[in-house]
Amino acid sequence: MNKPLISVEKLSVNYITDTGSVKAVNNVSFEINSGEIFGLVGESGSGKSTVVQAMMRILPPPALISNGSVKINNRDILSVVDSEVLGFRWKEISIVMQSALNALNPVLSVREQICDVLKTHKGLLGTLAHNRAKELLSLVDIDRDRLNSYPHQLSGGMKQRIVIAIALAIMPPIIIMDEPTTALDVIVEREILAKIIELRKKLGFTILFITHDLNLLLDFADRLAIMKDGKILELDNVKNIQKGGRHPYTKKLIDSIPSASGARQKGLFSKPESLDFPDMPILEVQNLNKIFQSSELFKKDKLIAVNDVSFKVSQGEIVGLVGESGSGKSTIAKLVTRLIRPTSGTIYLNGENKKVSESRNVPLEYRKIVQMVFQDPFGSLNSIHTVYHHLARPLLRHRLKSENELFLYIVHLLETVGLSPGEKFAEKFPHEMSGGERQRVAIARALSLEPQIIVADEPTSMLDVSIRMDILEIFAKMRKENNLTVLFITHDLASARYLADRIIVLKDGSIIEEGASEDLIQSPIQKYTKQLVRAASPGWFHSLYKNSDNKESKNDR
């Protein structure tokens, strides 16, 4: 067997803080063979990005590499002096950074950014560099005219392709991809991945792929390493991991992936026996429009965020609003919770229109009926107040509880959402809790007024995979116990399938398809919905792969 291309041995990285040193990466060793796709999977805080940055030697203080070696082609990148590190970067190993939106310089054109790499590492100038830049763009399927574009003129997917083109600029044998698709929509994500695989087939480079999304890697990686708390828990080839792995954590990760195709997995979320809901909808939205206008001195910009949307939600129903970024789903959340006013249209609550559209001041009773859970638990809690404050304020404002019963009620509430002992959590500040705990507090706050409707705007997308299902379970439980109505907004069709009774698919501000969850997943009608379903199913990769094979064979002829 030939020698591994990269071998990382006993790598340890410490972060030096004022309270001491924290071991972010602890004795990590792995090898990557030539031509392999090696996946490194871990949740936030697992140290996966630190490993990669240490491998490229781009990790700034307060980090300190305290032990280990990273051998690329048998040369240790950690022991060479600074000036020699440049010889490794891009020639031997290049990196595709997490978010393409930040990885590109907004004030330089695409041409300048590609040519910069060519000039620094290969000394290519003028037309030579220009021609190479053109080649690179066509490699990633971007029109050559785009060379003179600036990053803001490109879509997220295009930006990511350009970052990949830059990483390929001088054809290094190894490319590190650090969450290359995390910020992208599902369909675009799948396209980019297919492109990466296609390029790898054509050019034969080795990939180290970092992600928090195990599901993604199961389909196309060769070997996987699962990281948690700075250690590699399990390292094996994909087939063994797919079967559940040896480590319980791996099993937990595998189990927490919902699937959008095939038969419904049993045991996830309890649904009520019958799905017959009363005829009178609790919430009805009619012909809702929202146009954002930005008026500057001489120009007016119009953005139609929500375009003639109507739907009904019955008491006790969970409705999933599914769409990609820019589909208007968050705007609908803000309209329904009356954070913003619609341009036109009506919102009926319990069959009444509480003059929702006209008045600026929202009646307090509306606030009591409709509550919201936000996407980002780090932003939705105020860092200077305790959990107690967050839960007590709505109750005091609505005069629902007297000061005496308040504390007991809050403790009870916290325990309902799975934070026990409640007394302890009540006194905590947001920064003393994990993301999942914060989101539970945010849910408890929304529940504190005992509302009839909760609008949940991507409540799990900022959380680690292994706790997402637990958070969604709270909504399912509250519906069962308190007949709560939930408007569940998400980009993830698979989780909508499991939680929601009915799914509404949004695109560019309009509803394009609507139906009972299972029906919609099993037999989607619209092309876009079909794409969404396919992208969210396992085996998506093989279908794409076949397509690209066909294309290639066509080109050969």
């Binding site: 030096i16 803080t17 004022d18 040193s21 940055q53 240490a54 030697r57 781009i58 990790l59 700034p60 203080p61 307060p62 980090a63 300190l64 590499i65 305290s66 032990n67 950690l78 022991s79 002096v81 600074d82 590190v85 803000k334 919770t337 954070l339 307090l364 606030r367 009591k368 409709v370 509550q371 919201m372 936000f374 996407q375 980002d376 932003g379 939705s380 809690l381 105020n382 860092s383 200077i384 107040h385 305790t386 107690y388 404050h389 007590a392 304020r393 709505p394 404002r397 609505h398 504390f407 006194e427 500040f429 945010a442 706050r445 007024l449």
Partner: protein, 311 residues
């Protein structure tokens, strides 16, 4: 009881932060010292306006800082000058921040037409040339501390309002504000209880910046003779020193104590400002701390430090 816990927390956190930060602690001690002198000092010393000894006699045991051109004791003058100068300086600082927070905060929070109108007012004050306006107003209005305070606040508030408005606009769209709105909270409570404490570092450093500006501008105006020259302040001390041709007669003791006091107060305020920066933005200290904990000779230098192997 519960309320007490939350209420003290942010204050105690801040207090602990200031105490543990050397720069902020040093600055605070100096300022407290001067404030103490300004309050207590005038009761303990001879009258600063009495004729006490030979004019322009150099420092001696009788007159620690010497005497000025009118034969008045410079030590007494320096101490009693602190009172009005610091009072006007800090009051102007507080007023500038209050007005800035009120107008900037309302403009940033409500947006729309309210913002248009308030921004227009802020912008008008911003484009007015501050220095000439200050000189003209100070010479036109009856001289005195009230006039000085008014002039300083009038020419100084707009910039703060602008900064606070921008900060408010970013907070306005944060989720925790939306969450407070959805829970039915009143706007005024959201501004005061939810947002303003988050801006504490901005407000505090605005206050300090405004105070430094107010002390400097005030001394400048008085030096030009635009204050009430019958009162004893640091500015009038300098005015008289200049009038008595202190530089020509080489009587340095008539202006150095006052000048030094002004410099030390500004310096101490700047130290506090640095301290606030470090307390609220721990990233600023983490690298220095890192350097202290990991000696330079133990690592190979570079963007990524690697611990040298002990072989």
């Amino acid at each position: 009881m519960k309320n007490k816990i939350q209420h003290s927390s942010i204050v105690t956190r801040w207090f602990a932060g200031i105490i543990s930060n050397k720069k902020a602690l040093a600055g605070s001690c100096i300022i407290l010292f001067f404030v103490f002198i300004a309050i207590i000092g005038p009761f303990l010393i001879q009258s600063p306006t009495d004729f006490l000894g030979t004019p322009l006699s150099p420092p001696s045991f009788k007159h620690l800082f010497g005497t000025n051109g009118q034969g008045q004791d410079v030590f007494s003058q320096t101490i009693s000058g602190a009172r009005q100068t610091l009072f006007v300086g800090f009051s102007a600082g507080i007023l500038v921040v209050l007005i800035g927070a009120l107008i900037g905060g309302i403009a940033g929070y409500y947006g729309g037409q309210t913002d248009d109108i308030l921004s227009l007012i802020i912008n008008i004050f911003l484009v007015m040339p501050g220095l000439p306006l200050m000189v003209i107003l100070a010479s036109w209005l009856p001289p005195g501390p009230g006039t000085l305070l008014g002039v300083l606040v009038l020419t100084g508030w707009a910039w703060n309002a602008r900064v606070i408005r921008s900060q408010m606009m970013t907070f306005r769209n944060r989720d925790f504000v939306s969450a407070a709105i959805i829970s039915g909270e009143k706007n005024i409570r959201i501004i005061v209880v939810e947002i303003m404490p988050r801006m504490l570092s901005l407000l505090a450093s605005s206050f300090i910046g405004a105070s430094i500006y107010a002390i400097g501008a005030q001394v400048g105006l008085e030096f030009l003779g635009l204050g009430d020259i019958s009162t004893v302040t640091w500015g009038t001390n300098l005015y008289w020193a200049s009038n008595d041709l202190a530089l020509l007669t080489e009587s340095w003791w008539t202006f150095v104590p006052t000048g030094l006091s002004i410099a030390i107060v500004s310096f101490a305020l700047t130290l506090i400002n640095f301290g606030i920066d470090e307390v609220t933005n721990p990233r600023l200290i983490s690298e220095r701390l890192w350097r202290n904990k990991v000696p330079r000779n133990m690592i190979t230098n570079g963007i990524t430090p690697v611990l040298k192997k002990h072989e």
